[in-house]
Symmetry: D2
Subunit: 343 residues, 4 copies
């Protein structure tokens, strides 16, 4: 795009579901961007979203991609449509942000990564947590050497309300759906490629997940090329809110991205101090990350700079997920190289 | 205004200074409101703000008030113009939100309160802290009886960067400018009329305030009709951010609206745990309160309901401020009744 | 006493009440000290305490003072006997630790201070809070200049269970009994002589205190020669434990001796995080200070060094207490010089 | 022993090393117990410890065991002597507290457990952390059902100063020496037998451990019969103190035994709040647990009640340790049943 006068970045959003609506709203609220198109197979919800933001609607991604005023495309369609949408966008040589996972199979994801690389377009993966201010501050400080060599990482991720088994299965199961965010965070913080993963897991509160080979509770051990070890404690539900916490331990100190609270009130009474608890939901906790993600994307598009996390990061996390699923089934650690090699 | 279909609430903003810009931006960002006019004596800054939000500009408040599509007026002009702007708005029978103080003299403020009451319009005072989520949660829980009878309150308010003495003087001095927010919060939380105030204060880091009879550090004791006691610790600057904290102590417990932090990172190293500090500035800490305040104003206008805090609350806080100033000069406690009686 | 081989320091404890028992137990538990005598008018409780620690008992302070193996005397008798016991101990040229207040009247306290000074003996006042590890760390860091010039101090002191009015009256009332500890802490932390005190107070939960001119709730403002201001929030009871907290605010930062908790358990459930509350009682919170106080006294006796806090500190705090009581009665600030001048 | 009048419990302490001295001091300080004998092969250190507490010294455990006034024996000798000392004590039908591990080989430990069971004596294992007030409060609340079914546990244990490799090897390596405490805590909190363990580990800061097959950093996954999963993050050293923390997550909430701090001071300055860090050493953090452990032992001896944790608990933890070591070597999870079956 042209430099000089700060043109507004034109956006198309593919998929008018939950995440598409979040992105559409965030793009529409910006002065330096313009939401131009909503693309969806479902006319009703697609048109409603377009109307809400004075954007145009189409069922055809090609129609949107043909618009030269569209500079960037957010792909929030259903996972089985991702490959088609990524390849079309790459073919049109537009920047893209694809929600994770890149595709529902590793071979399809590999094709997407290769195509984006060949085209040289900005190809972002929607790992929004990298844009959490506290997670990122930890990353920046780790990279700046504040804790020296990273030796271990611990991540807690416990959702508030469990996705029912069939729906959870359609989303790929906990080790894929939830897991990819955290495999990526661990890689990012460790600054080293993952080499092996071990998964222990079980259905502790809902046996319904078992029929899909899925679990509701898992403990992951991820080993990196540097020797660093990450442990992860996953659960599909808590009684107390959306629980996420990261600790990075190194030779010279430990950095923690703390549990965050929904409010700042403490009540002293009797034998306890009752403090406002953690955020009730994922969205309450992480809404600002979607704004920051779009912010970073616009900056990258404007300056034609690379964007991280990219599809390669999405690919790596998907590979770890496949290895984690294999580990759960096999009852032993699985090398990442058994499913994927970074190129 | 009409009910039935949810008309957008039309706004005029008087004053294109810092606070006017905050309100203009917040109003413009809403779907249920429309920023229609910016009024300012300064054409340049007024027109710039109007243009930024596609609003109209005028130097004449009357022109704006004549527009029937304006339902509510935010008065953020200079304090010496407040009386004129309040009376004009009341005369036009529009809802208003007046930044504090209502006026630069108690008699003028009294006239404003009387006029608004006589007209029966919504007349809000800009005590935005009442809309802080944590302060309000404390209020709601106090009112719900969680701590029983309120016995004492402690408020810390320390700004980050000191206003230079001449500017601080023009704003009325610390006991008025900063103080009114907290006299109002204390009244609100105590649920009782203030009866007496004692001020101790001094210039501990900048003697320049002394030539205006002002101080940079103060300790306030405010006594309420209920017998409850509030203490306040004020400073014009800290080395560590914008410091605000409230404790309300009662017969059955203590509620605290805690110091809030700019981030959620902890660094364990050596003999300390270094946690992200408090917000660097007033605006970082309280930006959301201005959004909530406009939210509440729109709701009140839409439903023709009374709004709190009202000009009466502004009047009370101004009266406490005058008594606090008098106490500092006299070196002894001063009854609020010496300067004002609630009617 | 002799140097060279580390002789054990011999102690007499006068008064076998609560505080006498605390001191006796702490002295008896040491390897570098020996509890030799218990003195009490009450034979039964005195002998019981002596027997418990294999010490000797007497009703006569003179008999104890005649024992050359007694190097230090802890005076924990009733307040009206303090003057006699201090003067006798000073006359015997033994080191002493007198529980506060020095005496029940300022003139008597003055005589004690003068006698101790003339004799040149170690004459400690029992302000145990100066030996709290966190309070002292704050003091050390303030003195080391970490926060620059001290501008303000805030102290919370709220007891857990209210002393009944008649008993509270016999102990001198809240402004004396509780207050002296905190007037002293504020002086110590401010590093400056107190010049004026203002007391606001009331009976908010038990009107029974009023008949003795006492209150159950008070807000104190103490002004120091340096200009620094201390505020204090006192209550006779809480519903949630023994509440003590200190903040010292200065030009370059703020140091806080935090509320301390009875345990380190957090319970995440529903919308709150319920953390273990503060200590249930004064003794749970401050037991270690009595050990540290005796430790410091033994060190001072062994090295013939001055001890702080001394009777002069006790005198100062008593004077502030008298001024605070006068302020409550008069409804205005009272200069400390009106009741006492440091010499 | 006799009931009725509260006889003092007589103790013999075997081993005058670090832990023996801790126990000797704690026993000697009690009024309800008496330290009667110190047993050690090293006359010099043994006699010194005996003299310090006015106890008798012998090199012969039999001489001590022949004393009918000895009711309980604390075995803190070197690990290779434990079997002999446990069997002798059991033979004398005295209560015993054996420091962990029970013995240097599982078969020897098994013999000790069997002998103690056959004799019906109180046979305690020195898992002092079970007596930490906060850990125990978590246990009590878990047992009381506050968090419902236990689903996962996370334990952090990072020592402050790394034991040098040769010494660490002599103590059994990190997975045994450090690990047994935490395998036991996890079992205790899960309320279920461990069934499988997976260990990932490496030498990240000192390759010297590798020559002994040991590591300096480890991540453990322990699976229980109930399905619950425990993860553990171990390190041999931190830059910031002795780091121990436990989280127990269940169906209805999460209980945390928090990191504890060495002091209660916060320093607000610049962009951070610097709080007093965690305890510098293991002993600063856990000294009170040794007192509580002896307390519990005395109570059990006095009332002839069973004691937990017992040698069976010690046996289980040792078995998990052997499986953890085997897992590290094999690079895959190892069933506990492969090394031990509870009987």
């Amino acid at each position: 795009m042209q430099r000089g006068k700060p043109e507004r970045i034109g956006f198309g959003v593919v998929g008018a579901g939950t995440i598409g609506r979040v992105h559409a709203r965030n793009i529409a609220a910006r002065r330096d961007a313009e939401l131009r198109w909503i693309v969806d197979v479902d006319v009703s919800r697609g048109r409603a979203l377009a109307d809400a933001h004075a954007a145009r609607f189409t069922q055809s991604i090609e129609e949107m991609l043909a618009d030269v005023s569209v500079h960037a495309v957010v792909i929030g369609s259903s996972t089985d449509a991702h490959e088609q949408h990524v390849l079309a966008t790459v073919g049109a040589r537009k920047a893209l942000l694809c929600e994770k996972p890149i595709a529902d199979r590793l071979d399809r994801a590999t094709r997407c990564v290769a195509a984006a690389r060949a085209a040289g377009v900005i190809a972002a993966i929607g790992f929004n947590r990298r844009f959490d201010a506290s997670h990122r501050a930890v990353f920046d400080r780790v990279r700046a050497g504040e804790i020296g060599n990273v030796e271990s990482i611990h991540i807690v991720s416990r959702s508030f309300e469990a996705t029912p088994p069939p729906l959870a299965h359609r989303a790929g199961g906990m080790l894929r759906e939830k897991g990819t965010h955290f495999y990526d965070l661990a890689f990012w913080l460790a600054g080293s490629e993952p080499v092996e993963v071990y998964t222990a897991g079980d259905c502790l509160f809902d046996k319904g997940y078992a029929q899909y080979g899925d679990v509701d509770t898992a403990a992951i051990t991820l080993r990196f090329a540097s020797g660093a070890l990450a442990t992860m404690s996953f659960s599909r539900r808590t009684s107390y809110g959306y629980d996420e916490m990261i600790e990075v331990f190194g030779a010279r100190g430990m950095l923690q991205s703390e549990r965050q609270r929904r409010g700042a009130v403490s009540f002293y009474s009797g034998e306890t101090i009752a403090r406002d608890g953690i955020h009730p939901s994922w969205y309450d906790r992480f809404a600002p990350t979607y704004v920051a993600e779009i912010d970073a994307l616009i900056a990258a598009v404007r300056t034609a700079s690379p964007f991280e996390p990219s599809l390669v990061d999405g690919m790596r996390a998907q590979a770890v997920a496949e290895a984690a699923v294999a580990s759960l089934a096999a009852g032993k650690p699985i090398p990442i190289a058994a499913v994927w090699q970074p190129t």
